[in-house]
């Protein structure tokens, strides 16, 4: 059994927990309103799992069920072998970090960090020692006597993290903790969170709508949409082998070419009169959608690769990469070229040939 087991979690708002049997016509009738619909996940001890998805996909609701702030309509939460589904949040020993920091404004940094230990009536010396240890962990030992309003957003979120960790929780929950911070601090703090999580070996669930954050931080990513789990996997699996069209489109940038199957055994497709090949088995049907990541496309003709020619309509210099938009049939194909000093950029309006190897594309059935 996994350390944290989320079993068939469902959450319908406006329905009393436990009031619906799991398999009834009534349940099926209201299933369209489920914020979380049949969520199953096993999380191992020390693992960092991200819940990734757009707003309203149910990721925060699932996290709040684990924290105890929401009761599932059906399903169970098992932590280290114990069923905590009906245990109140104050008795779960689960640390939580919120998007809005949620530091107590009337307390100093030290008092905030030591709050959980004071509540559980730990000896004063132990609290002081733990507060110092935690402030050392977040590299803010000198700010113990400051009030939250005297700290920057990044510092406040570090303190919130230290406060959540001070109680030695079994699980750490982070609800979009970096969303309120600016881009530079967000990246810094992201690695800080990962360092601390690995240093302490604490089991962590991280909710975010930022795919880059989820991919950079996580041992595994759960991509969610409309209350459902779309895909669970390691970051590179999610990015390189998306199993649904939603995941393919949500994680990273994706070009989709709706193509006609010319020869299924050889993987030959036709896109607006231009033929190209893909590797792997094709789904049934006369029309399929070929998926291509922008970074797998190259400018110009390359021997042994597929070639498609279109018209360059946009060009954006992003520093490390140059992003180009190529009009190709009904689609605008995005191509990312790695920036180098000698890179010869085409002019807008000129024809541009793009190349890609057959294995770079994967194919899904046309919906």
């Amino acid at each position: 059994m996994a350390f944290l087991d989320l079993i068939h979690l469902k959450k319908a708002f406006g329905v009393r927990p436990g009031s619906l049997p799991s398999e009834t016509p009534h349940l099926r009738r209201v299933s369209a309103t489920y914020a979380v619909d049949d969520f199953n996940l096993e999380i191992e001890r020390g693992e960092l799992v991200s819940f990734l998805g757009p707003s309203g996909c149910g990721k925060t609701t699932t996290l709040r069920i684990v924290a105890g702030f929401e009761q599932p309509t059906t399903g169970k939460v098992i932590l280290d072998g114990a069923d905590i589904t009906n245990v109140p949040p104050s008795k779960r020993n689960v640390g939580m970090v919120f998007q809005a920091y949620a530091l107590f404004p009337n307390m100093t940094v030290g008092d905030n960090v030591g709050f959980g230990m004071r509540v559980s009536k730990k000896p004063k010396e132990e609290i002081q020692q733990r507060v110092k240890e935690m402030l050392g962990l977040i590299k803010m030992p000198e700010l113990e006597n400051r009030y939250p309003y005297q700290l920057s957003g990044g510092q406040q979120q570090r303190v919130a993290l230290a406060r959540a960790l001070a109680i030695k929780p079994q699980v750490l929950l982070l609800d979009e903790p970096l969303s309120a911070l600016d881009a530079k601090i967000r990246v810094e703090l992201r690695y800080e969170i990962r360092r601390i999580q690995q240093e302490l070996g604490i089991t962590t669930i991280y909710v975010t709508h930022d795919q880059e954050e989820a991919l950079a931080l996580s041992d595994r990513v759960v991509v969610m949409s409309a209350g459902h789990m779309e895909q669970v996997g390691k970051p590179w699996e999610i990015y390189n082998y998306p199993t649904t069209e939603f995941v393919a489109g949500f994680v990273g940038t994706l070009n989709q070419l709706r193509s006609r199957v010319v020869d299924a055994p050889t993987g030959e497709l036709d896109y607006h009169g231009q033929h190209f090949k893909v590797s792997g088995e094709l789904p049934p049907g006369e029309t399929v959608v070929a998926m291509l990541r922008p970074e797998q496309l190259r400018m110009g003709v390359h021997e042994g690769e597929n070639q498609l020619t279109g018209k360059l309509i946009s060009l954006a210099f992003l520093g490390a990469i140059v992003r180009m938009g190529v009009e190709l049939g009904e689609a605008i194909v995005t191509l990312d070229a790695l920036n180098e000093r000698r890179l010869a950029l085409p002019k807008i309006g000129e024809p541009l040939t793009i190349s890609f190897p057959p294995h770079a594309a994967w194919v899904m059935a046309a919906g």
């Binding site: 939580m96 559980s120 939250p148 406060r163 600016d182």
Partner: protein, 272 residues
């Protein structure tokens, strides 16, 4: 841009005069007890009256108890409405406005009518009539004052809770193991300090000057004393009005001192 201007200053001076002239008039009048000489004799006489001290201290005690009762009743109620029953807010607001609509005399008669008899269940007297004892009547008076002060205390607490992120702070405290009692006492109440001080000041002002309830319940409060004094004397009531006004300003000054130099609870540092 030009600041102030003629009309700006005109309205400032007009408002100041409108506010201060009656006070100056009352103050000057209170000094004119001895003909042709300005003196503090009216103040001396007022303070020399043991009845003044007795009623003033009694009303102060009642005011403190009313403040405690109001905080104990309204903070958990408004907190729960904010946290779990936001749809009930209009209903609760309506209820708290009732003292504005129902005159105090109705409240006084209602209290007397309900509590003048003992509580008898199945032939057994569970509770003696509260109006039959001093302590019981004091409790009824505090209960009545709590109702009268409710519109002000409710709004003060409501405004204070709106200024903080009640839900997130509560959930943060819960995740750290805090009970509901701990959350209210150690997280919510300290962050309502300024709001509670404002509510307490208004409650204090209402209770100290209240006449109807204290008269009908026959308690030795400052309001009835001031009323009786005003019927028989001229200068002492003016002197005591000025003293009451001064006390109110002292209380407001204390609120300022207690809350200055701290940002609002919702204020956070920059995102850097």
């Amino acid at each position: 841009m030009k600041r102030g201007g003629f009309w700006g200053w005109f309205w400032v001076l007009f408002a100041t005069a409108y506010f201060l002239l009656p006070l100056i008039g009352a103050f000057t009048f209170s000094l004119e007890m001895r003909r042709g000489v300005l003196s503090f004799i009216a103040y001396e006489r007022a303070f020399a009256d043991p009845e003044f001290w007795r009623t003033f201290l009694y009303s102060n005690e009642m005011a403190l108890m009313t403040i405690v009762a109001s905080v104990a009743l309204l903070v958990p109620t408004v907190f729960w409405v904010h946290l779990r029953l936001p749809r009930w807010r209009p209903v609760v607001e309506f209820i708290t406005l009732m003292p504005f609509v129902i005159p105090a005399i109705i409240l006084a008669f209602g209290i007397i009518k309900v509590y003048k008899s003992p509580l008898v269940i199945g032939g057994f007297t569970i509770l003696q009539a509260p109006t039959n004892s001093v302590a019981g009547t004091n409790v009824l008076l505090v209960a009545g004052y709590t109702v009268l002060a409710m519109p002000y205390m409710y709004r003060a607490v409501d405004a204070g809770l709106r200024a903080i992120d009640v839900r997130t702070l509560t959930e943060a405290a819960q995740s750290l193991g805090a009970s509901w009692f701990t959350i209210i006492v150690r997280v919510i109440l300290p962050n309502l300090r300024a709001a509670l001080l404002s509510g307490a000041l208004l409650t204090f002002a209402i209770v100290v000057g209240e006449l109807t309830l204290a008269s009908f319940l026959d308690r030795p409060a400052f309001g009835p004393y001031l009323f009786l004094l005003g019927q028989h004397r001229a200068y002492e009531p003016a002197a005591l009005s000025i003293v009451s006004f001064g006390l109110t300003w002292v209380a407001m000054g204390l609120i300022y001192l207690a809350t200055r130099g701290r940002p609002g609870p919702g204020q956070v540092g920059g995102a850097h």
